[in-house]
Amino acid sequence: MDYFSAFAISGSGMSVEKLRLDVTALNLANVHSTRAGTGALYQPLTVVSQARPGAFAAAMAGARNVQLGAQVAEVRASLVPPRLVYEPSHPDADNKGFVAYPGINSVTEMVTMMSATRAYEANVAALNAAKVMSMKALEIGGGN
């Protein structure tokens, strides 16, 4: 693996974590989105990420142009039951007076947001470490 692969690996990890943060922000923005007319209720999304398949063995065997890193497998809508709140005066209330809100757990979303941020920072730290290593390698034979 050449020294640019370390940058690409960390870059892919950062892309995945950024997407996770964006999806979490989308879920949090839709906490109070009720069913609008005939549309389906908003279901909270989760990001399923996986490692790029089958590449590490090839990279260890010395193959070139092997794409290592993480990738997003899918952004899945989790099927949680909606949260029913009794509000007869709401325009979207059904005939019993209940309004269906998306079943988004704010606490879970905040924790996901914090862990995505920490993972992003960890990827930045790994990238900086790889860069420091490369710059140190360039100093071989210097100082004399």
């Binding site: 020294y3 640019f4 940058f7 690409a8 870059g11 950062m14 892309s15 950024k18 930045v124 990238l127 860069k131 490369s134 710059m135 360039l138 034979g141 210097g142």
Partner: protein, 100 residues
């Protein structure tokens, strides 16, 4: 007395040599050609990071870290070229210092 011929040995098998491993293409035009190619590659990296910066200023980039990554790669390639130049100059000066 009947001496059997040696018939139990299998036929001699040809040892097939595998194909040669693909190594890096040796510089066909020598060191000067390789150096020019690497300088072109480093220049390409700088140009690409410049384009990404312009797109970031226009707001068309969705990943800020891609811009920073390209900047770091360009800087690293350039540092490598500078070090190669330093080593070459040092070797050249060593030769110049030799007494005739």
């Amino acid at each position: 007395m009947n001496i059997d011929p040696v018939g139990f040995l299998p036929a001699v098998q040809e040892i097939a040599l595998g194909p040669l491993q693909e190594t890096d293409a040796a510089p066909s035009t020598g060191f000067a050609g390789w150096m020019a190619k690497e300088m072109g590659a480093a220049n390409d990296k700088i140009v690409r990071s410049d384009q990404l910066l312009q797109r970031l200023a226009m707001g068309e980039v969705d990943n800020l870290h891609q811009v920073m990554l390209s900047l770091e790669e360009a800087k690293l390639s350039f540092q490598l070229l500078v070090q190669v130049r330093n080593k070459l100059l040092e070797a050249y000066q060593d030769i110049l210092r030799m007494q005739v």
